[in-house]
Amino acid sequence: MSDYNFAYLDEQTKRMIRRAILKGVAVPGYQVPFASREMPMPYGWGTGGVQVTAACLTPGDTLKVIDQGADDTTNAVSIRKFFQRTAGVAVTESTAAATIIQTRHRIPETPLTEGQILVYQVPIPEPLRFLEPRETETRRMHALEDYGLMHVKLYEDIARNGAIATSYAYPVKVEGRYVMDPSPIPKFDNPKLSGSRALQVFGAGREQRIYAVPPYTDVVSLDFEDHPFEASKAPHACDLCGDDASYLDEVITDDSGGRMFVCSDTDHCAGRQAAGHRGRLSPQEDAA
């Protein structure tokens, strides 16, 4: 028995957040303001995501938390523990077994299914923020669908780097209407946003915004006709499970240039290793 209300937040707060989520689902890609609460963790650690998760959790849910694809990093472990303690829900590291997945900066490799909810932690929800500092003006630009500026950013990318160098937080247009910041996921994950079977909810705690992409919603990455969008990743295969189609982290292994590439999605990688896949640096099994 915990001394906290189920999932930490009080019922009125959860109700308020659920209303924001419902509005977000009704207007895909629109940033709904909500009265973000002070959470027992610093801003930037996922206060928005935690509030959305708290509002979505039911006692029967199974929760998975990932940070940059990994289940075992500080952020993921603490948030998972937080909900174990305050909500007493079941937790898992398996993407397929989870009903709610809170994520920071990745979409799991395993395709999501109907009935799952993917909750994103968002630092800066406004895709136009670094182009137009005034909030009043960016809101008006969203209202009027005045998105020429977004392409100015991409133009600058090409002018300076010869290609669209934006590799994460790559702007998308949702259902032909709102331009949205998909949170800092790598652009490799952008195609997975579109037509997803799971509900995707984005929570920005400090900025007090919630937005959502309902299942089977069309999400298009912005680009130029002669510089089309490209979902890029490191041109390697995972050194542990040998997968050449998953998103990779580069790990420096010594100070003489040694490095390895591993799947950023630890659940995906572990699953493949369990199924017998091996990569370049997998421990050699002795048959002896």
């Binding site: 005045d146 500026l149 100015v152 133009y155 600058e156 510089h227």
Partner: protein, 258 residues
Amino acid sequence: MTGQPLLRVEGITRTYGGRIGCTDVSFDLWPGEVMGIVGESGSGKSTLLGCLAGHLPPDEGRVIFDTRAEGPRDVMRMSEPERRMLGRTDWAFVHQNPRDGLRMGVSAGGNVGERLMAVGARHYGRIRDEALDWLTRVEIAADRIDDRPRQFSGGMQQRLQIARNLVTGPRLVFMDEPTGGLDVSVQARLLDLLRGLVRSMGLSAVIVTHDLAVVRLLADRLMVMKGGRVVEQGLTDQVLDDPQHAYTQLLVSSVLQV
């Protein structure tokens, strides 16, 4: 010169609380015509220009613009998206301070291309070609296309601002002291450029300035404002050579002769 005036201004009044910004200003602007508005600081020139360009809502009066698609429309009663669309296709606004009209963190090419992208251009190569063409037209070297306006001189910034505004081929340009803050030789070059562009593109323009030399060179007609009111208007040469109103006489005689 048949049919409609391009811009018809009727009884524009704008007050700031009890103070008059400008009051009861009316005029017609015909296609290809350049109208100069002169007056001392605080005479309501910029307020008037702001009202005309839709930046400030006037308290009274109408601004009727002869739109391409639908003929004369009251700009004040247009919806915001329509007005914004107008503001980046048929209209242009050149600010006194280039920092107000440019995006200082975006390269010259991006600045020129912004209007194109805002009206739906999505082909990088073509946007860039257009930007290059316009930089050449305003005498900015092509190899500066990826430099930011911060690295430009004041005169270049102002020319860049002009290129950025004219790239969509507007029919009406509002200019607020386009030569303010530039030294005389740079001013002369800029005026030369402006005059060339206005003539070759058949632009109509409303130019607000306190510099009589600017209107002498550019404007066909002249309006003199004082205390928010128009005190005299007529052909530029007529007003400057034979001023009738006491204030105009003072203004004309105040110009230093070198």
